[in-house]
Structure formats: structure tokens, C-alpha cells
């Protein structure tokens, strides 16, 4: 092929790709399409390393959708939820966000991981699409922009509670060892908070061990940490790597207290660390024992769907995210009907509506700051109690 022809073909392809990229990216004049229901999208990690969270969240969304559509939907019109798998990485989240936005959804729930949110949320911000994050706890998520909010309280609020509780259980704690995944935004953000909390309590970490999300063997780091004779171990890891690390810690002889962060706040850790999960301390943004009508309804729906099981925090938060969007849509639609309204303007008004509201949710009463940060009043600390078979267990709330 001659250089000239190559240039012509290249220019043609570039033009075509720009035209294709433009398709669906200009939502300014598009009307809201309510054919089949009011469109909302969700982007969850249903595959890859973080799939354990996505599976929990999917159940929450399904229950919230049933609840919303069972009680009249959006003023008589059903809420239509499109669910996309983001995998567990940033490119997957970016692609899924773009796809959902191009579909004309009014708002997005997700992505599952903070690491993904820092990559995908700016896309929604640029395109003017409201995002309600159900599980991003890293510092700086709502600050991405006006359209980004979350119902998951940030680590700085929750993480120190577990440290405090560990000191209540064992006041003589002196030597803390810290582990975190250095290639994960959630882990690096949370460990900073954990380490600050430890120092404030006079527990300067004796060692800080860095891991990677995809690590499965931690003997090296554990051997080094155990040489320091820690009496407390603090983990900021995701469920799979964290579960493996706990199992290896216990197998290599560590018997002291273990505090874990939000990444391990899922029953999906049970099959990984099995009997060794027992005794793990985790601060919670959700309590199944919260005695409110909203939580009662959620509990009832979850138990009916899951054979009497207790819902995990991630499920409750995902349920809350869709509940918030649903209620905001109902209010907005009453003021001005959604059908046929300009999509871009409606998205902006919906974001304002989300931020203005107050919501009675399974997490308790929540509101938002003008930046989109959740305002939540009640937090808890749970300790994992494994059943004798070592395969199932529960997060027992500590009074």
C-alpha cells in the first residue's frame, strides 16, 4: 500500500471513528425515552476478582427494583434497570459506563470498586449523568464532580471504629502490623485512615506490608510481620486476597486479633478463610438489627429471597442506592413529567433532586452534603462468628 493511500485510509478511519464516537455522546437534544419504563443503569463487578461484591450488590438492586415497582414504580410507570458487568478493572467500568450513558439512562449506580470509580466517574461527570455509588469508600469520590454521590460512608468515618473496638476487647494491645494492597485505591485510602487511627491510639505500626490485589501467596509478608510479634493485625484488602491472607496468617500460627476494612465486609469471605475467619472485627455501615420500617421491609424481602439468610452490608447499600434514585425520580416526575423531557436537563434536575432529599433506608435515615457525600448517623462493629462446619457464619454485631 502506498503512503498516500495509507494516509487516505487512515484519515477515513479516523473520521469514521470520530463519527461513531459522537453517536450517542451528544445527549443535549435527546428526549427521555420511557418506553418499557424509566431507564436507570447499574454497573457492577460481576466477574473478576471483585465479583463477590457485585453478586451481593445485584441482589440488593433486584430487591429494590421489586419494591419500587411493587409500590407503583415512578408514578405508575415502571422503573427499568439495565445491569452491566464491569469486570473488576477500570477499562471494564469505563466501557460499561459509556454503554449505559449511550443507552439514555437517567442515572447510574456503581461501579463496585473505588479504583474503578476514579476512572469511570469522570465519564459520567463529563456527560452530566448522576451517579450514586453503592460501595465506594475511598476519600475523594464525591469530589470528582457535581454528578457523583455515594451512599457508602467513607472509610475515614467507619474504619477507626473497629480499632477502638479491638482496644476495648484487648486493652493491652501494643504492636500492630498493617497489610494493604498497594495497587488498589480503596486499600491505599483505607490503610492511611487505619494507620492514623492506630497512631492516635498510641499503636504505632511495627510493620507495614504492601501486597498486590492479585497476590494469592503471602508467606513472605506474613513471615516478616510475625517476626515483629504483633498482637493486632489490620488489613485493608479485598475479599479474595484478604481471605487468603487471613487463612495463611492463622495457619502460620498467628492467634491475635485481626481487624479488617470494608473490602472484607461480605459473607463471601467465608469460603476463602473458612474457620479462620472466626473472630475477625469489621466496622459496619449497616445493621440487620436496626429496628425501622425501612430495614424491616428490606430484611423481609431479603430473607424471602435468600431462604432466611441475613443480608450483608453491600446488599443493603445497593438497595439503598436504587431506593434513593427511585424516590428522587418520583418527586421529579411529579413536578414535571419525565416522558419526552430533554434528557440532559432531566439528568441535571435529577441530581439536584437526589441531593435535596432525605431518605428512610435500611441504613437508617440518610441525606447528602452538597458535594454528594452521604450523611449517615449510625455505624456498628461486627465480629465474624463461623459455624462449627467452618463453611458458613455470620457478622455478629458487638453491643
Amino acid at each position: 500500500m502506498s503512503v498516500g493511500r495509507l494516509l487516505r485510509v487512515g484519515t477515513g478511519l479516523l473520521t469514521l471513528s470520530l463519527l461513531l464516537a459522537g453517536c450517542g455522546s451528544d445527549d443535549t437534544n435527546q428526549p427521555v425515552d420511557v418506553t418499557g419504563g424509566v431507564p436507570v443503569g447499574a454497573v457492577l463487578a460481576l466477574t473478576g476478582n471483585a465479583n463477590v461484591y457485585g453478586q451481593d450488590q445485584k441482589i440488593g438492586l433486584e430487591l429494590a427494583l421489586q419494591q419500587r415497582n411493587g409500590s407503583g414504580g415512578i408514578n405508575g410507570r415502571p422503573l427499568k434497570l439495565a445491569l452491566e458487568d464491569s469486570g473488576s478493572d477500570e477499562p471494564g467500568a469505563n466501557a460499561a459506563f459509556t454503554l449505559q450513558i449511550n443507552r439514555g439512562v437517567l442515572a447510574l449506580i456503581g461501579p463496585t470498586l473505588s479504583q474503578q470509580a476514579f476512572s469511570a466517574d469522570p465519564i459520567a461527570q463529563r456527560r452530566g449523568v448522576p451517579v450514586v455509588a453503592p460501595s465506594n469508600t475511598a476519600t475523594g469520590i464525591p469530589e470528582i464532580g457535581f454528578f457523583i454521590s455515594r451512599v457508602s460512608a467513607q472509610s475515614s468515618v467507619i474504619a477507626p471504629l473497629a480499632i477502638e473496638r479491638a482496644l476495648t476487647i484487648q486493652p493491652g494491645l501494643k504492636r500492630a502490623a498493617v497489610f494493604y494492597a498497594q495497587d488498589d485505591a480503596y486499600s491505599t485510602a483505607e490503610t492511611t485512615i487505619f494507620q492514623k487511627a492506630l497512631k492516635e491510639k498510641g499503636l504505632e505500626p511495627v510493620t507495614v506490608q504492601r501486597t498486590q490485589l492479585n497476590d494469592q501467596d503471602f508467606q513472605n509478608q506474613i513471615s516478616a510481620a510475625l517476626r515483629e510479634k504483633p498482637d493486632l493485625i489490620v488489613l485493608s484488602l479485598q475479599a479474595v486476597d484478604g481471605g487468603n491472607l487471613i487463612r495463611q496468617l492463622r495457619e502460620l500460627g498467628y492467634r491475635g486479633l485481626i481487624v479488617a476494612g470494608n473490602g472484607m465486609n461480605t459473607p463471601n469471605i467465608y469460603p476463602i478463610c473458612q474457620k479462620y475467619c472466626d473472630g475477625l472485627l469489621i466496622a459496619q455501615a449497616y445493621s440487620p438489627e436496626l429496628d425501622t420500617p425501612a430495614n424491616g421491609a428490606f430484611l423481609k424481602a431479603f430473607k424471602a429471597a435468600k431462604g432466611g439468610a441475613i443480608p450483608p452490608q453491600l446488599t443493603a447499600q445497593a438497595y439503598t442506592a436504587l431506593q434513593v434514585i427511585g424516590e428522587a425520580l418520583v418527586r421529579l416526575d411529579k413536578r414535571q413529567p419525565l416522558a419526552g423531557a430533554p434528557l440532559a436537563a432531566t439528568r441535571k434536575q435529577l441530581m439536584q433532586e437526589i441531593l435535596a432529599g432525605s431518605y428512610a433506608t435500611p441504613l437508617g435515615e440518610i441525606r447528602f452534603t452538597p458535594e454528594g457525600e452521604v450523611i449517615q448517623s449510625q455505624f456498628f462493629v461486627a465480629q465474624v462468628r463461623m459455624d462449627p462446619d467452618g463453611r458458613s457464619g455470620r457478622f455478629a454485631l458487638l453491643k
Binding site: 460481576l46 466477574t47 473478576g48 476478582n49 465479583n51 463477590v52 453478586q55 494492597a181 498497594q182 495497587d183 510493620t207 507495614v208 506490608q209 504492601r210 501486597t211 498486590q212 492479585n214 494469592q216 501467596d217 508467606q219 513472605n220 509478608q221 513471615s223 516478616a224 510481620a225 510475625l226 517476626r227 475479599a239 479474595v240 481471605g243 487468603n244 487463612r247 495463611q248 492463622r250 495457619e251 502460620l252 500460627g253 463471601n268 469460603p271 476463602i272 473458612q274 474457620k275 479462620y276 467452618g390 463453611r391
Partner: protein, 309 residues
């Protein structure tokens, strides 16, 4: 950290890499191409082991709730899982490699078709059993302790087993290659398939044998790693696949002892990274590979490829 503890940590991790790379090596030695579906076969070995010991499929996937009507002890399940993985490897050979070999296609095409086969297998696993993690119960080793002390170093029993089994399989494989008719036939095909064919050696059968053995080794390795660190979803073989590739090149393409030596060296290189910096161990092991290849372009035990005229 004590030198002995570092050695134990490094060798136990390196044993997994070596076992993994052995399978790569067998196929490479007879076909001259990397089988990128090897990681998926390794993953399947772990799932087969889980099912054979009586594990139930979770709530997601087409096989939700499925459980075999029997449960085997771990040591019974592991070789069977290896056989299951061997069958899958043979299927990969039949579908992704043989048609191209018959057409004398560029080996690069087989690399791509094997990559495709691997992706399809991983997606099939997810479709059937979901994406959640599974774990072989910690009590699968019966009365053995979870860990033990060795001259002051702390060793997980499962890691010691991994190392022992890797060494045992290497020894058996070497004995078989050097001392059996089929083993020699395999080496002859690896040296020169066409000449071997003229001498009456069925090269197609030898290729199948290499794939079967490679699948068996991957299946056994998958089962052992599943026991050691749980089965982190359908994609959990991918990381090992990349590391296995580095080990294969480091040890010397097509060299069986090189695969094991490369695995152990990479494991040790990672273990010698100070624990505080172990988040960077991949950079160290690949950097080490880079340095070795600068000094020995054919790897540690690689031989010059025969020139074909």
C-alpha cells in the same frame, strides 16, 4: 528475615510456577508454540478437584446447586482432576491446534487459537458455575497439621506438599522421558517431527501425548493451588499463566528441568525481595528474567534450536 524462611517461602511458591511451566514446556517442545489455554486447564483442574471432593456449585451459573453424588478424599480427587484436565487439554489440541498443523499454518496462528480456546474455557466455567470463589476445605488433608516448624522456619503443610509433589512429578517425568519408548519418541518429535515420522514414530500421537501430560500436570497443579489459596473465580489461572510464561523463557524454551529450575529461581527471586517491598516482587522477577536473557538469550538450560534446511 532468616535465610531458611526465605528459602522455604521461595521454593514453595517456585514449585507452583515450575509445575505450571512444565506443562507449557511439554507442548512447546513438540510444537514450538505456547499453549495459551494452559491457564484455563489449570483453573479447570482446581474446579474438578473441588467437585470431586463433594463441593457444591454456588447460587450462580447454569449448574447452580449441582453436586456429585459421591465425595472422594482429596488424594483420590487430585489425580482424577488431573485426568479430567488432561481430557480438556486433548480437546484443545484437537480443536485449536490440529487443524492448523494439518494445513501447515504459521505457528503464530496456533498461539492465537489457543488464546481463543482459553478465553472460551474461562467463560464456559463462569457460565456453568458462576464467578464466585470456591475453596477446598481446610480439613481436606485429614489429620495433617496446618503448618509445622523446620529449624525455626514456619512452613504451611500445603506448601511443603506442593514442593514435594512438584519434585516428584519432575523426577517421574524425567525418568519417563529418558527411559521409556514413548518418552524417547516424544523427544525425537521435539527434535525433528518429520524425521521422527520417517523413522516410524507417530508424531500426531506424540503431540497428543504431550498435550495429555501437560493437561494432567496443569490439573494437579490447579488442585494443589486451589487447596493452598482457594479458587478465586474462573480467572485465577491467568496470573499463573503469565508467570509460567516468564519461567518457561527463563529456564529455556522446551527444557523440562529448565522449567522447574526457572520456577524455583523466580520463586526465590520474589522471596528475596524485602517483605516491606513485596508489592514490587513482580517487577523484580521480570527484571531478573530480563537480565538473564541479556546474558543467556536461550535461557538457563535452553539449547540452540536446530536449524531446519
Amino acid at each position: 528475615m532468616d535465610l531458611l524462611q526465605i528459602l522455604v517461602n521461595g521454593l514453595s511458591v517456585g514449585a507452583v510456577y515450575g509445575l505450571f511451566a512444565l506443562g507449557y514446556t511439554l507442548v512447546f517442545s513438540v510444537l514450538g508454540v505456547i499453549n495459551f489455554a494452559h491457564g484455563a486447564v489449570f483453573t479447570l483442574g482446581a474446579y474438578f478437584t473441588y467437585l470431586l471432593i463433594g463441593g457444591a456449585v454456588g447460587a450462580n451459573g447454569l449448574l447452580a446447586g449441582f453436586q456429585l453424588p459421591f465425595a472422594l478424599p482429596f488424594w483420590g480427587a487430585l489425580p482424577l482432576a488431573g485426568l479430567g484436565a488432561a481430557l480438556v487439554a486433548l480437546l484443545v489440541e484437537r480443536v485449536a491446534f490440529r487443524p492448523l498443523r494439518r494445513r501447515r499454518a504459521d505457528p503464530l496462528l496456533a498461539l492465537i487459537t489457543s488464546l481463543g480456546a482459553g478465553v472460551i474455557l474461562v467463560n464456559l466455567i463462569q457460565l456453568l458455575v458462576g464467578a464466585e470463589s470456591y475453596a477446598i476445605p481446610t480439613g481436606a488433608l485429614g489429620g495433617l497439621p496446618a503448618s509445622f516448624s523446620l529449624l525455626g522456619a514456619r512452613v504451611r503443610t500445603v506448601q511443603a506438599l506442593l514442593l514435594g509433589i512438584a519434585v516428584l512429578l519432575l523426577a517421574l517425568l524425567t525418568l519417563w522421558l529418558e527411559g521409556s519408548r514413548n518418552g524417547k519418541g516424544l523427544q525425537a518429535v521435539a527434535e525433528d517431527a518429520e524425521t521422527a515420522q520417517l523413522l516410524g514414530i507417530d508424531s500426531t500421537a506424540m503431540v497428543r501425548l504431550a498435550f495429555g501430560l501437560s493437561g494432567f500436570l496443569a490439573g494437579v497443579a490447579g488442585g494443589l493451588v486451589g487447596l493452598s489459596v482457594s479458587i478465586a473465580g474462573p480467572y485465577f489461572g491467568i496470573g499463573y499463566g503469565l508467570k509460567g510464561l516468564a519461567v518457561l523463557v527463563l529456564g529455556g524454551l522446551g527444557s523440562v528441568p529448565g522449567a522447574v529450575l526457572g520456577g524455583l529461581i523466580v520463586g526465590l527471586a520474589e522471596a528475596f525481595v524485602p517483605a516491606d517491598w513485596s508489592g514490587y516482587k513482580d517487577a523484580v522477577s521480570y527484571g531478573f528474567l530480563f537480565l538473564v536473557l541479556l546474558l543467556r538469550p536461550r535461557g538457563l538450560l535452553g539449547r540452540p534450536l536446530p536449524s531446519k534446511v
